[in-house]
């Protein structure tokens, strides 16, 4: 399965593009913040050294991949970091199906020359795959955000997955985010931002120290309205498989109900949330206290 934590459109730049740095400039100021575009302008081996910090060696070990060579046991790490691009994409895919990713991490310079985490996918290759990412006609659903494959989503939910997951996770989310902190510190960056794809992914990011640029109030509203007597609680009426009466008690249950559009009853939609993690700092946000996943 995977855990797709964020998807977004290409950012509209509002800050000037940084110029490539010379070696002297690199050596001259360790506090100078580096962006993805700057790193991508380096020779391939040099940028690979930077980006190597983003993947926990234990994750590579789990997939039988040598952490230095980035290949082994039939798997390999693919690096997409074009010199003129402000985006880097690291992936490990099923060799028999390039659309079946086991690991994806994508970072991008954002509109204000900060760094956005676009996407994390962490799928257990040995877990069953659910076809929630394509509809009955074979068109991409963008993990259920554009269209939905209801039959596969219901199967995934009953198997214990959260929305946007195609397989059970590998359990490396915390380690990947810790590695991301290391990478950001290496680049003299202070923070990373993202847009959580689902309620479950927002909850995971909270647990890993993220705060909200937008949407903290919405998360509080969701918590309040899922309590007995609340509007969302009342809307868990069994009218669809994703709105079972006990769904309010767990992160996944709430996430499936939200995926099913239940926020409409409080005049909201799952959109425009944005989160931020300050390097080395845990914000301590807990919008669902003592939650069961």
């Amino acid at each position: 399965m995977f855990r797709a934590l964020r998807l977004k459109q290409e950012p509209v730049k509002v800050a000037p593009e940084p110029k490539p740095l010379t070696i002297d400039e690199w050596m001259g100021d360790a506090q100078f913040p580096l962006g993805i575009r700057t790193i991508n302008a380096l020779p391939h081996d040099a940028k690979q050294r930077f980006y190597r910090t983003l993947i926990p060696p234990a994750l590579l070990g789990r997939l039988g991949i040598n952490p230095i060579l980035w290949r082994g046991s039939g798997h390999a790490v693919e690096l997409f970091a074009e010199p003129a691009s402000g985006k880097v994409n690291l992936s490990i895919n099923n060799v028999q199906d390039p659309n079946d990713a086991y690991f994806v991490l994508e970072l991008q310079d954002n509109a204000t020359n900060g760094i956005d985490l676009n996407l994390i996918i962490l799928n257990d290759p040995d877990a069953e795959k659910f076809g929630i990412d394509f509809d009955a006609e074979g068109k991409a659903t963008h993990w259920g955000t554009i269209t939905r494959n209801l039959a596969e989503e219901e199967r995934a939910m009953r198997a214990g997955l959260a929305p946007a997951q195609v397989r059970a996770g590998m359990g490396f989310a915390r380690q990947v985010l810790q590695q991301l902190d290391v990478f950001l510190a290496l680049c003299a960056r202070q923070a990373v931002s993202l847009e959580p794809l689902t309620y479950a992914s927002a909850w995971i990011f909270e647990k890993n120290g993220f705060a909200y640029v937008r949407g903290h109030k919405l998360m509080d509203d969701i918590q309040r309205e899922f309590q007995p007597g609340g509007t969302l609680h009342a809307a868990l009426d069994g009218s669809t498989p994703f709105r079972q009466p006990d769904a309010w008690q767990t992160v996944r249950g709430r996430a499936w109900a939200i995926q099913d559009g239940i926020l409409e009853v409080i005049g909201e939609r799952w959109r425009d949330l944005r989160m931020i993690k300050v390097v080395g700092k845990h914000a301590g946000v807990e919008t669902f206290p003592n939650a069961k996943y």
Partner: protein
């Protein structure tokens, strides 16, 4: 005192009570005099209210992060948010006569912050907007 103390809440007026309680608890733990604790609570009230009313105006409100950083002879209180930058500029003393006559007056809270805190700094960076309020402990 190496501890940092952080409380993050949604930018809603409900958060003010939680922030006051948090400051009181931390000050009690650090044996900071009540007078300073109250001043910190009131300054936090004013600063956080500005963030809630102005910083996140027109937005789906995000977080306010309150951080207390005790040091040997002072305590730093940092309020961070991710909304529109809104610097609480120092104001003149409010018109007490107008207040007594129940006429609308503004700026009392900002005036209070600048009168009671020993240093006030505001800056915005990659991590958001930060209001740093410093209160000396040794002068009390």
């Amino acid at each position: 005192m190496p501890d940092n103390f952080i409380l993050t809440r949604a930018a809603e007026l409900d958060a003010l009570g939680a922030f006051r309680e948090f400051i009181a608890r931390v000050c009690e733990r650090l044996q900071i005099p009540n007078e300073i604790s109250f001043e910190l609570q009131l300054a936090c009230d004013e600063a956080a209210t500005n963030v809630i009313r102005h910083g996140y105006a027109g937005m789906n409100p995000g977080s306010i992060m309150l951080e207390l950083r005790p040091q040997r002879k002072k305590i730093e209180m940092v309020l961070s948010d991710f909304g529109h930058p809104f610097e609480p500029v120092e104001t003149d003393a409010p018109d007490v006569n107008a207040m007594l006559q129940d006429q609308p007056t503004t700026g009392f809270g900002l005036y209070f912050i600048y009168r009671t805190m020993d240093d006030v700094q505001y800056y915005s960076d990659e991590q958001g907007n930060h209001l740093v309020l410093v209160k000396e402990l040794s002068s009390k």
